[in-house]
Symmetry: C2
């Protein structure tokens, strides 16, 4: 039995910050780790945008409550959970993701925590440095073979550390810079690549 | 967000070997880690019993396919998955447990593999030594607070390693020998003990 580590945003659900950007009319929130690879820098930028707009946490949560998993995501995930122990490894926050996890059938999620005060996002706490790579290392320490799939720069350490890494729906730039990883464009592609390994 | 490590047999599903003992009329298979604390010794004993009876793997699987989670287990687990990242940590085998995991909503399961040849159980492969303690250690290395609940001797290392360990429906002997752990007799008790921590 292998473990499958899956990124969340862009793989199973929409990019949360981009959805907030659209609904709140804050185009500056459209940047992702695809644009600013350094996560700390990106989060600092987002916090500044939120503070300037004085956007409430409950407003953001209402946007997230209105999101649905990507089309086909639940069916893919249900299929994957028959053959793998699936762990979602994300740089999002439990406070954001929880409503969507219920719609995905409560897969195990390893991510981070937000600090919310007076209905405003006051900060965030990364669980540890290099979080995605660390998860794969910990699972390998339990003698599990680990596969991993993700779409963006912050997934690269996880894909590197896994026994097999797959880029899913990744921008061309990411694929070009990391030709060592197989690339899947659809859940069908991903099922074929995973099925060949199980 | 804390992680909750749950034992499987005796906590969420019936004891598989005892069910096989009953249905196959092999009373010798009724022994558990409650009776023979050393898991290797217990498994050697079980393998001998199976070989002498020439019991087929498919016969055992048919027994397991007929099992249901313990009454209230699914509701308890659904509740737990709202507030914790739940990981089932068991000394059973994927080849046994998979049908039951579907009925529990596919929680993440860390356990072991059987070796099946010619429809007979030919052996088994423990994922690693001290497997339950190792899982908790790995999760703590990811900076997750970890709670753990189990019913038997093989759970003690997991309960010791966790930030908080709970004995669930454990025999009096186990409770007496490990007074350091809170004891829950029902899912209601367990919810109360867990809820007080979250």
């Amino acid at each position: 039995m292998n473990i499958l580590c899956l990124d969340l945003e862009g793989v199973l659900i929409p990019e949360i910050w981009q959805a907030v950007a659209e609904r709140a009319g804050l185009g500056e929130l459209n940047k992702t780790t695809r644009d600013i690879p350094d996560y700390g820098e990106l989060m600092g930028y987002r916090m500044d945008v939120l503070a300037r707009a004085d956007l409430r946490f409950s407003t953001i949560r209402a946007v997230i409550d209105g999101l649905e998993p990507l089309p086909g995501a639940r069916a893919f995930l249900d299929w994957a959970r028959e053959g793998w122990q699936v762990i979602i490894v994300s740089d999002t926050f439990y406070e954001f993701a929880n409503p969507l996890m219920a719609r995905l059938g409560h897969p195990t999620l390893f991510c981070h925590h937000l600090q919310v005060r007076d209905d405003r996002i006051a900060g965030y706490r990364l669980r540890q440095p290099d979080p995605k790579r660390s998860v794969v290392k910990a699972l390998k320490s339990l003698n599990f073979p680990v596969m991993a799939a993700g779409d963006s720069y912050n997934d690269i350490p996880m894909l590197e550390e896994a026994d097999k890494g797959i880029l899913f729906s990744a921008p061309e730039r990411v694929r070009r810079e990391h030709p060592q990883f197989a690339a899947a464009e659809s859940y069908g592609d991903l099922r074929a690549l995973l099925g060949a390994q199980n």
